[in-house]
């Protein structure tokens, strides 16, 4: 197509005709001008269809001028830079841009999904809910694949996003959302005070609708005034002007999210390393909402045909880009503003076949101007239908009929190829409502407008329902001044502009334009085009009892598409009101939620990606682990070696070797991640007595004791060995994952419940490197190192600690064991950790020392029946349940969880208890979490007898072992339980949960 008739020669203030720009749309090369949007350039090329609708796959064209667009959703960019669901009306073109339409399969022109259009009756309101009630298999195998293939809103990028994104936190005194006439006036008044001002607008340039909104400022076009103001603001030191920046959400205490598209319009920006998008997190003293208004359509039969667009869009496309919506249009309106479209188009040489005005006898200056310009006007009329060809893609004309709210009595055909429609304007109250602003219905405007405001929020201009330029200017100045006054700033002197605008005739509501015959049922009167919600669907929802507007919305999906009902909300309410004989305020309105327009995931993630997604904690030995082939696993934020596979070993072989090394020779474990908390003060012993279920105040200096910690509900939450170093000094060990949580827990009780206790709690996990030296040769290894610690059995008995020097370093040595072997843990300041580690390895070489990882550690402890918090417990397990009632003090008056543990239901029979399990087949390892069943051969659902909590192949005893929580487990010793696994019944015997060295002889040497 030449595109000639669609690019006007004398219009298009934003395009630079000297700069040709070439891009692709659905693979086809399109030529536009610098300054074009995808929508303006594609339309100027003569193409109208920009996408297919979500449900019925009807061809759709551009409807709006900016962020109110609901049909022209496109994907932009290739491969990993592809971004779906952008608005063609907002995407600025550049050389090489690649844009694709969405929702069409296989192509925009021939769309198989359009069959849904014929099947429309089956896709009525509540379709998805009703379909889910059909047999599930039918949904899974027939409907869902079909719908997914046929629809889907865009495609995800194919790989990791190569661009960078950032977030910035800023404070300002006055934030102005929107830079139309009201916003610019507000900014001028606010900035004159010297306060810090931010003015943000979603468009590439300031001015709002100053170019096409009519009126005069200081006797000239408001556009001239806007340009002057924009330049002045840009030059002011205390003002930050942000374009392409949408104020997306308003939250408590004037916290505002702004989304800036920094580099989307020019790839050289991101190529230079500048972030593609920026998310602004702003705290503002005062916020002035000057977000403007959004034109609303009128529902008439087949009002979704490509070529039917908002009057403001037809006007804006022509004025800004020289793009004509067609060669001969019809303007359909219930208000004066659309007359500006008719007048402007005619002056630019675009044919306007007729103005169809639903009002009976309106009189105003604009109407007089239209008459004087020779435009044909039909008052008291409406559009009863749209005549199309080429499968609905080409408008041939409309049917006009007298407007009354009943049947269509007669109709007149009017030839045209586009329709510019206006049902009035809705103030953009979204931001106002995000955080508590109230709205009220305005009968004159037939829409909701702001009512009461929360503190710190002001509103001006069209967003406030003030649509005329003089009014918007006055409100803008006033809001700026008021913001300064509220902030106790010093008002500055400005020379206020004066504006004039012709008086307008009143708008008269029209929601549903009746149509001929079957079309009058409303199933082609589109309300929410993106979600294919039609007038009849809204009526059906009413008939089916979804009368509340919130129910109607969810049942029909009205306003739930990516445009969030910007054009459909009030129209839908109007149609429902008309259908039910109620008024709109009686029906109410739905909630406005952030964000106003879509915010990219990239900007939400900001810099928190890749290595910065979650900080990784590494022990002092980490580099050694890496150099020695450790296979790491995450443990909280730590990375710990799971095992150290040697050449030719898989994980299982490596773990088996490591376990046998500990059992037969000696092993070395990096246990530095173990939580370590220093507890000091005269009341330290008393405090620990209150925190642990067992007693620590009686612990002698130099002695260690295993402690159990319960929460206030009586359930186990942590465990570990705590050591008394001095009369007022303890070292508490916690689980690796619990270190921070337990430190916080101790602090909370100290601060809030027992502030009288004289105790300091200091987490020192990172300050110490700590290693377990475990196995029959452990003592020999440590004795080989120089130092003053006597490691002999007599001098250093089990569950004691010593401080001293080892290999020339000051250490804390504990004789404790989590493996059941002769074992010492040696703690050393973290900066000396690597030196000690190397020294131990060197000394141990002669004794066959091998390093072992977390999996060997876990198997070693399971062989001994030691619990792990989080494996054998799940926040519903008590000390009694795991057989550790001996560690629950009966003497102490009080400790955390004591009173709850005494509640009858935690003591009664029938609770799950910890047992061991031995499978009949010694080579079968039960899966973690497997449930023993009452009748393993029966059909589900089956009653569970309990579940497996830890399960391993034990190299030490040469067979599989498991621990499990089983109902009444301790009374079931010797019983055989059945599991239904892998399609067969697996049997296991209930045994004591200690599988190796039951007497504990091995650590007693």
């Amino acid at each position: 197509m030449s595109g000639k008739p669609y690019r006007l020669s004398d219009a298009g203030r934003l395009i630079d005709r000297s700069k040709r720009v070439s891009f692709t749309f659905d693979g086809k090369t399109v030529s536009g001008f610098a300054g074009d949007t995808v929508a303006s350039a594609v339309m100027a090329s003569g193409q109208r269809v920009m996408g297919r609708s979500f449900k019925y796959h009807r061809p759709r064209g551009v409807v709006g001028l900016g962020s109110e667009e609901m049909n022209a959703l496109i994907g932009v960019g290739k491969a990993e830079r592809h971004e779906p669901n952008l608005l063609a009306t907002k995407v600025e073109i550049f050389d090489g841009l690649s844009a694709v339409s969405q929702n069409r399969w296989p192509s925009l022109n021939h769309d198989i999904g359009a069959i849904n259009n014929v099947l429309g009756r089956f896709f009525s309101a509540g379709f998805y809910y009703k379909t889910f009630m059909w047999p599930q298999a039918f949904w899974k195998h027939v409907y869902e694949p079909f719908i997914r293939q046929a629809a889907g809103l865009g495609k995800a990028p194919t790989g990791r996003d190569p661009d960078v994104y950032e977030q910035v936190h800023v404070h300002c005194d006055v934030l102005i959302a929107g830079a139309g006439a009201a916003g610019l006036a507000a900014a001028e008044a606010a900035a004159a005070s010297g306060l810090r001002v931010i003015i943000a607008d979603e468009n590439p340039r300031l001015g709002g609708l100053c170019d096409i909104g009519g009126g005069l400022i200081d006797g000239a076009s408001p556009l001239e005034w806007a340009k002057t103001r924009a330049a002045a603001l840009a030059a002011a030191d205390n003002v930050q002007v942000l374009t392409r920046t949408t104020v997306a959400g308003h939250f408590e205490d004037n916290y505002v999210l702004m989304f800036e598209r920094v580099g989307d319009h020019d790839p050289s920006i991101t190529a230079a390393g500048t972030p593609r998008h920026r998310l602004w997190k702003v705290r503002a003293g005062q916020i002035i909402i000057a977000a403007g208004a959004i034109e609303r359509p009128i529902a008439f039969a087949n009002n979704d045909r490509p070529g039917v667009m908002l009057a403001s869009a037809a006007r804006g496309l022509a004025a800004r880009y020289g793009t004509a919506a067609g060669v001969n249009g019809v303007v359909f309106t219930n208000n004066d503003d659309a007359y500006r479209t008719a007048l402007m188009l005619k002056s630019m040489g675009v044919g306007v076949a007729r103005i169809i005005d639903s009002r009976t006898n309106p009189e105003s200056a604009l109407i007089d101007q239209a008459k004087a310009a020779g435009l044909d006007i039909s008052f008291g009329s409406s559009i009863a239908g749209v005549m199309t060809s080429k499968g609905g893609k080409q408008i041939d004309g409309i049917k006009m009929s007298p407007y009354n709210r009943g049947r269509v009595t007669n109709e007149t055909k009017v030839d045209c190829d586009f329709v510019a429609v206006s049902g009035g304007w809705n103030p953009a109250v979204h931001l106002w409502c995000h955080n508590g602003g109230k709205i009220k219905f305005d009968h004159e405007l037939q829409t909701y407008r702001p009512d009461r405001s929360p503190d710190g929020l002001l509103i001006a201009g069209a967003a406030n329902g003030t649509f005329d330029v003089p009014g918007a200017l006055a409100e803008g100045y006033a809001a700026g001044e008021q913001a300064v006054a509220l902030l106790k700033g010093k008002a500055g002197k400005i020379a206020k502009a004066s504006a004039t605008q012709e008086a307008q005739a009143k708008l008269e509501p029209i929601w549903f334009a009746p149509a001929t015959g079957a079309y009058n049922e409303g199933d082609k009167h589109f309300i929410d085009q993106q979600n294919d919600v039609v007038a009849s669907g809204l009526e059906l929802a009413q008939r089916e009892g979804y009368e509340s507007v919130e129910h109607t919305k969810r049942y029909t999906t009205l306003g739930m598409a990516t445009d969030q009902g910007k054009t459909s909300n009030i129209l839908g309410l109007g149609v429902v009101a008309e259908a039910t004989g109620k008024t709109i305020p009686e029906i109410g309105t739905t909630t406005f939620r952030p964000p106003y327009t879509t915010v990219s995931f990239g900007s939400i993630a900001g810099a928190h990606v890749r290595d910065r997604f979650l900080p990784v904690r590494r022990t002092a030995i980490h580099d050694w682990h890496v150099a020695n082939g450790a296979d790491f696993e995450p443990v909280g934020q730590w990375r710990r070696p799971y095992c150290y596979p040697k050449a030719g070993e898989d994980r299982h072989k490596a773990v088996t070797r490591e376990i046998l090394a500990v059992r037969n020779k000696v092993g070395l474990l990096d246990a530095s991640t173990l939580g370590k908390i220093e507890i000091k003060g005269p009341d330290a012993g008393e405090f620990l007595d209150r925190m642990y279920t067992n007693t620590f105040s009686t612990l002698k200096e130099g002695r260690c004791r295993y402690g159990l910690m319960a929460n206030e509900m009586g359930f186990l939450m942590d465990d570990g060995v705590t050591v008394r170093v001095g009369p007022e000094h303890f070292i508490m060990h916690t689980t690796s994952g619990g270190a921070d949580r337990i430190a916080g827990w101790l602090e909370e009780w100290l601060q809030t419940e027992w502030p009288d206790l004289k105790v300091f709690v200091t987490p020192v996990t990172e300050q110490w490197a700590q290693f377990a030296v475990a196995g029959p040769n452990a003592r020999k290894v440590l004795e080989k190192l120089s130092g003053d610690i006597d490691f002999s059995a007599e001098a250093f008995p089990f569950m004691t600690m010593k401080t001293g020097t080892l290999a020339g370093m000051s250490v804390r040595a504990y004789r404790i064991s989590f493996s059941g072997e002769l074992s010492y843990e040696i703690g050393v300041p973290a900066n000396q950790g690597r030196a000690l580690w190397d020294a131990i390895l060197e000394a141990g070489a002669a004794f066959g020392i091998e390093v072992y990882g977390t999996e060997a550690l876990h198997v070693l402890r399971a062989e001994k029946g030691f619990i792990i918090i989080g494996d054998e417990t799940d926040n519903t397990v008590t000390a009694i349940d795991v057989g550790l009632e001996g560690l629950v003090s009966k003497k102490k008056r009080d400790f955390i969880g004591k009173r709850s543990m005494e509640q009858s239901f935690l003591k009664m029979d029938g609770r799950k208890q910890l047992v061991g399990l031995l499978t009949e087949d010694p080579n079968y390892v039960l899966p973690d979490g497997a449930h023993a069943l009452e009748d393993a051969t029966g059909k589900p659902p089956q009653k569970t007898l309990g579940h497996v909590t830890s399960t391993y192949m034990s190299p030490s005893i040469g067979r599989s072992i498991a621990m499990a929580l089983i109902f009444n487990g301790r009374a079931r010793m010797g019983e055989t339980l059945s599991f239904s696994l892998d399609g067969k019944v697996v049997k296991a015997k209930v045994v004591e949960p200690v599988f190796y060295d039951k007497e504990g002889a091995r650590q007693n040497v």
């Binding site: 408590e252 916290y255 206030e712 509900m713 909370e748 601060q751 809030t752 502030p755 008056r893």
Partner: protein, 117 residues
């Protein structure tokens, strides 16, 4: 996102720099008379919370500041903070007077003392 002020170190910050720890002034019966706590009292202490529309007393922790716990009085409708006060302190007398539910009970004999101070 709320702005919270720590009464201990004085820092102002986003609520994400703090941590809300639920209802304040919940007495732990076992701390004062451990041998004499009924099942019902323990249940109420653990699980029953007052959830008024309006004035709410709650515990907060200055996570990224001084690490201390403190108390706040907040309106659950407007979300506005009415007062911040120490973890061992009482709210301003006028707020104690507006308190409902178990708080009203708890503050009853303390209002007088508050006036005196």
């Amino acid at each position: 996102m709320l702005v919270v002020t720590c009464p201990v170190c004085g820092v102002h910050g986003d609520e994400t720099d703090f941590h809300c720890g639920g209802q304040a002034h919940v007495a732990r019966p076992a701390s004062t008379r451990p041998e004499n706590v009924t099942d019902a009292e323990q249940r109420d202490y653990l699980f029953i919370r007052h959830n008024p529309k309006g004035l709410h007393f709650e515990r907060w922790r200055c996570d990224r500041g001084c690490g201390k716990w403190f108390h706040a009085a907040r309106d659950t409708v407007s979300l506005e903070f009415k007062a911040f006060y120490g973890v061992t302190e009482l709210p301003p007398v006028e707020l104690m007077k507006q308190a409902t539910g178990t708080w009203a009970e708890f503050f009853k004999d303390k209002i007088k003392a508050g006036k005196a101070s």
